[in-house]
Subunit: 397 residues, 2 copies
Amino acid sequence: MIASAGAARAGDPVITQMQPWRETLGDPVNAKAYGTPSEFENHVLRRRVEWLTADAFSSIDFTPIDQLDGLITPNGVCFERHHGGAAQIDPAQHRLMINGLVDRPLVFTMEDLQRFPRENHVYFLECAANSGMEWRGAQMDSVQFTHGMIHNVMYTGIPLRVLLDEAGIKPNGKWILAEGADASGLTRSIPMEKALDDVLVAFKMNGEALRVEQGYPLRLVVPGWEGSTWIKWLRRIEIGDKPWHHREEASKYTDLYGDGISRRFTWVMEAKSVITSPSPTMPIRHGAGQMVITGLAWSGRGRIKQVDITLDGGKNWHKARLDGPSLNKSLHRFYFDFKWDGKPMLIQSRAHDETGYVQPTKDALRTSRGVNSTYHNNGIQTWHVQADGEVENVEIS
Amino acid sequence: MIASAGAARAGDPVITQMQPWRETLGDPVNAKAYGTPSEFENHVLRRRVEWLTADAFSSIDFTPIDQLDGLITPNGVCFERHHGGAAQIDPAQHRLMINGLVDRPLVFTMEDLQRFPRENHVYFLECAANSGMEWRGAQMDSVQFTHGMIHNVMYTGIPLRVLLDEAGIKPNGKWILAEGADASGLTRSIPMEKALDDVLVAFKMNGEALRVEQGYPLRLVVPGWEGSTWIKWLRRIEIGDKPWHHREEASKYTDLYGDGISRRFTWVMEAKSVITSPSPTMPIRHGAGQMVITGLAWSGRGRIKQVDITLDGGKNWHKARLDGPSLNKSLHRFYFDFKWDGKPMLIQSRAHDETGYVQPTKDALRTSRGVNSTYHNNGIQTWHVQADGEVENVEIS
């Protein structure tokens, strides 16, 4: 298929001659330090948009999804957003309280929680504001910034329903309020139906303890729902008979419509996808010929069933190849293997989830919701690939 | 179920009074650094057995499987074994050659490889010597040392058959020799049938680039086969008509039987399991009552179908709960939720894979193979749990 590329390098001195890493011993491995990536990978980091960040105690750090592959996000580069700095909590001093409309108010230590049945699930977390800066038109110059408020890890935790059963919910207990232990004391109301469905009280991510910036030692995992409901540094679950209408579900995380009405409790992250390479920071360097387009697709309603790719701005669509395990409310990885003719392209991806929902265009979103909102932009992203392989963020009608 | 534990803490001042992490802002998150775990988790590290390690250029660093949960191993604590230090290779200067009995010898840059179709799979890597120190009897004082020569990550790579097709294998090409670029120049012979089946040329693990100590920028992934065949710093694949009988498949990685005959090319890692908690470094601190036994099971022949647990040294067996995705040649996580009566226990786990194979006792292994070998010990592990919750490594007949 692309043997010509390989054959042309047959006399390459880098392979025919002895290289320094063959002539001398490599570095010792330090077992007493937690391992980190190669120095040649030190560009693969979270990044922030300075004008979007008030200060380092209320910042937004985007996942470098341009540089990653597969579907697991390594813990060291997971998107994080905090409102009062990253609380440093000694797990021996951390407690989880369950109170309110319950038969038995309970307080658990981290050790107590280890005695309950655990489950493991890979779920994506996406901020409601992901791609929000693109609502009014193409703006950001990397897929890290257009779509990087997301990560996908395997959680180990206890189904919340197990702990609620333990406390005994009174008949009028219809909502929960989850509260964080950090300085911001973030709270969100969640209806009991979701709380009893698939919500986890999680203490591990990708096998190890939660990272500090992800709520160590305990966070709520609310599969498929906007990230701000996934309360970090979780200290309390209160049971009530109605929602609390606290700050982060009233002044924030509501969607202002074109007619001035705000829609709230828009928790579910609808089906979405994006091409991660090529993209502005991942230009095509090899010229025309066989190549790979890759990206991510996800849905807060379940599994991704299909991803379509267009090379000509939506005139013709081709089915992408979904690869790796297809898991409920997890990122899915897609590939499109094709031969590039070296001419400019307008590339897009479009996700279909198992409910039959199809990812809309940005114009369709604006028609139904107006342009006042920044949350829940799951519109189709366009990249303009130029003949020289450079890629820019554009929008087409 | 264990509400009494929670209810007893209802007046705990740690939950009723204001804690320091609520009164002051947390730490700023440094987006310009690769994230690492909480300082409260700095005991979760790879460790080495000093008498087993010649020096830091030829060491063996075990995964802390006692402390982990779920089935993904974080890259920062993945087991690693090297023979000439960890080679530091600039990916721009790295090449992969395919030569020998081929129609077209080929040399690929890392960029060339990005143009081929990729796949993603979660596979366990286990060293043939894992649990080898237990062949003659219980010896090591942690599950990290008895069973920690293993890890389980999601790889992104190119099926080797795609690259071999590109080169064109001559009719008499029946074996491959994979060679590393590091100072040890490790080589292993692999039959063509396996090479064309599920072997990958991988460049990413858990979404990001391979770690240096895992062969950055390129390694061979040989699913279900002993770790030393997974050549790191992969620089060359030679096609031949018979195996090469090099050092690491002649003087090492062969199994010396009781009758003095060595069995070689014992590549497949047979079904195995171990309880990771409780274990010697994970004693029971909460006393009698509801608790969780957890561990890992895996098979080089496919999926795990069932894991049994005994609390009484094999007199009675109970079915464990398998949890998380069940993936081909991946670790599986199991749990056993039960009420401990506070009396001493002899706990074991026993894995069944989808081929019907059942994990044997260590005595059964010794009967068939003698006691000269250290490789391929997949025997059942026993932990003695004492009434005070302390756990020791023992062996029972």
